[in-house]
């Protein structure tokens, strides 16, 4: 769940380190958790706050990490996957988080609801509306492809 929420908000190359950081924060604040039943929602909030902090602080990306990403891009299926991920990340926040937990992390709707503390109804609505918007974006992208190919070959 933590990985998915971060993937919806921060660059791919930063996600693993931030996952570690979120668990570190959660560990140091665990005594502030009053109700064990709300652990999922509590952890989700820490994760979202960590992603917000990430965007607030200026940083630079190490050269080697950028190179790694470029190497990975040599694989065409990786390019396709990153393009679809980018489309999901362009959706409204509620939709992109739920869709990433469902399509990337492999969680079902009831699991997402149980772990994030959202109601099953909200998750269901987010999934279906998010999927509807993603389908539209994927369709738009497909429609643009022949024009781009034509321009490139012409």
């Amino acid at each position: 769940m933590v990985h998915g929420i971060l993937l919806a908000r921060v660059p791919l190359v930063e996600v693993d380190d931030l996952v570690q950081d979120v668990f570190l924060r959660a560990f140091t604040r665990i005594r502030s958790l009053r109700d064990e039943a709300s652990f999922g929602g509590w952890l989700a909030s820490i994760t979202r706050n960590r992603a917000n902090d990430y965007h607030r602080s200026p940083r630079e990306v190490p050269e080697a990490l950028e190179t790694d990403v470029e190497d990975a891009r040599a694989d065409s299926s990786q390019i396709e996957a990153e393009a679809i991920l980018a489309l999901i990340r362009s959706l409204p926040e509620a939709y992109r988080e739920t869709l990433i937990l469902r399509l990337v992390e492999g969680m079902t709707g009831p699991e997402i609801a149980a772990r994030t503390g959202l109601t099953p109804g909200s998750v269901r609505v987010n999934l279906h509306r998010g999927m509807q918007q993603l389908r539209k974006k994927l369709g738009d992208r497909e429609a643009l492809r022949p024009q781009v190919d034509q321009q490139e070959t012409g």
Partner: protein, 354 residues
Amino acid sequence: MKQDYLWDRSGEPDPEIEGLENVLGRFRHGAAAPEFPLVTPRPKLRFTRSRRFWQLAAMAATVALVFVLWTVLRRPQPGIAPLKGWDVARLAGTPRVGITLLGGAEQAGKLAVGQTLQTDGQSRASVSVDDVGEVQVEPNTRLRLLESAPSRKRLALDRGTIRASIWAPAGEFTVDTPSALAVDMGCAYTLHVDDSGAGLLRTTLGWVGFRLNGHESFIPAGAACATRPGIGPGTPYFEDAPEALRAALTALDFGPAGERSAELNLILKQARTRDALTLWHLLPRVEGSDRARVYDRLAALVPPPSQVSKDGVLRLDQTMLDLWWDKLGLGDISLWRHWERSWSQHQNGDNNRP
């Protein structure tokens, strides 16, 4: 209820959603959850006191809050509390601790439990191991701090190279790699892990233990040992051993099973007295008549102590093997056995945690 594949994977799979799951599944998180010490749960408060009690408590809390605010506001700000963790110093380039780059104004940082230290092709860093050692982190390395307790310090080397100089008691400092656990027995060593997870450990002082699933190797100063994912540590060898012996050892440890006997012949023929290190490790790694041949050659190079019999060694009697190891003069094996017991208790303790 209507079946809905998007919601709970019920009913007929939607080909489009299934395709997206397949394409995007590569980004799924596959690493293990970080390990943290056990946290004692906060005892639940019981609200059985009288209303008067809570009124008094609220007043007392208000007074205490005013006092604290007054104290804090009238004193100079002490600044941000220092982060707990191991000191990290930049040696070159811009090593990264968590998401913080070291370089420019930030020349040093702290590596806390759960955090990652990463270097690129131009970066190097030095990590102070909680006052009991130092680890130099070479370029293109990814290192994580898993545990930092008074008697247990544990790193994970995912890839790259570290140079460790440790003066902690034997067994206190360990490094996880994708294919073996390196256990410091009072030493200095270099550990390298490549992108496939294969590793190479070279000891320069003291000795190091290498272990995976009960498969263990002891590497004294001047010796090296390779390790492979799914196999674990190979047989250690002195780095000045004949080239042919070293090549045969690699084939024996990690090559196809069919050619082991030929490789063993070559090793036995090439072995010098100093290579008793290698032959002792081969005893549990070969079987039947091959083990008897290793025994004979090792006994010719370093005669076993009087309490050690051939039958016992061929049965892999642990006490006899340990006695023979101690006679090689490469390290006190009782230290290792002590570490094994405490490690096993620690692991069982972890497994019993709720």
